[in-house]
Symmetry: C2
Subunit: 258 residues, 2 copies
Amino acid sequence: MRICLIGAGNVGTQLGLAFYKAGHQVIQVFSRDASRAEKLASLISSEPISSLQNLKNGADVYILAVKDDAISDVFNQIRSYLSDSLVMHTAGSVPMTIFTDHSRHGVLWPVQTFSRSHKVDMRGVPLAITGNIPETTRAIEALAKSISDHVYHIDDTQRAFLHLAATFASNFSNHMYTLSRQITEAQDIPFDILKPLIQETALKIQRMSPEEAQTGAAVRRDEGTILRHLLLMKENTEMKEVYELLTKSIQSSSENAG
Amino acid sequence: MRICLIGAGNVGTQLGLAFYKAGHQVIQVFSRDASRAEKLASLISSEPISSLQNLKNGADVYILAVKDDAISDVFNQIRSYLSDSLVMHTAGSVPMTIFTDHSRHGVLWPVQTFSRSHKVDMRGVPLAITGNIPETTRAIEALAKSISDHVYHIDDTQRAFLHLAATFASNFSNHMYTLSRQITEAQDIPFDILKPLIQETALKIQRMSPEEAQTGAAVRRDEGTILRHLLLMKENTEMKEVYELLTKSIQSSSENAG
């Protein structure tokens, strides 16, 4: 496919590299930051542009890999170039209906957290895709399958919930690491001591459900340990509140499961 | 060292295997469950016992790898066999002072989550150790270093806080996976789609601090996305309460860091 890639941030960069590797022709890379556009373009034999006025007509697909709240703006700026090309965005939290008055549109959301510096193998990244009509869904599916082995049909409603689930699975679990680091730092304990445990906890759910993997004082209803924990946080009301609510939530989840 | 290992559960089994591999002599393995004692003993050329009355005198060290709330009971049952041997437990949440009237005692806590079925490499498991006097600390340190490359001196107070930190890092992060799975299940979305994200989130903090790794609507203060998320949970007050509190907690952590 002939692709115009709009956005050269983390997601744009990883997608651009994957499309190139899969043999697609990324004809242009746009970034407002000219040096960033040039850097990615040079890696994937593409033309860098830093003004949307230089966008070419007639690509097979225009991919908006820009910040969630910029998608609508960018779409309005480029719609006159689109004719009947496919247009899609890469955001988990933005509905497909943002493109509703364009005939061929859809979404390709890589369900992964990317850092520009850290290379990921896109073949292992789950892609949640949808299109506005069967023909566009098929086209997006073909493109997605050319770069990933894990392509899922996820409609707009499902994607909204999946984005919420990802917030718990990633943003909130990372915050648990932050709180644990606050505790160790305050006691001069190296945070490194917890890293293997964090790894193993994430690995465990590859082999069993998180409900089965749940351990600790909350699920055991070990009131003595819970009380000792609460005493350690008596001067940190915010952290204590989190501890109490999550303990309650673990107990209520295990009740419903049992 | 000549070791009597009391307990053949997850921790006892992993320690027994590691001691054997490091060339120590595990002279007895106790479990109330005779078949469990036999199974572990056969793997490490030890003698299985299922009654503490058969415990031998004069081992160098007696290790109580039993449930937290059984340590005190078991200690009372075996103290007449101990003379001046070293005695220790393997629990994160139990103070060393439980042994206080025995002259030589301490703690060796493997900071990891174990499953009997899943083999771990003990050399990579952090061991938090302490002893009641410099001599016992040195003895426990030597034993710990013979099986692990990551031995940390952690006193009783620090260990209580480290156990609390581990609760956030492991039990509570696992519960975040549970909540995300509840969301995907209700929408007929395969939970598998989130597993690579969960892995990468845990891996990320090997390269940067969790504060630096934090992403998502809460830390971006993206009120639009937060509001859409809350609407998706309008019939699940418990989950919504967790979402709201963690969003607040992420924002307050990032304020303090900034």
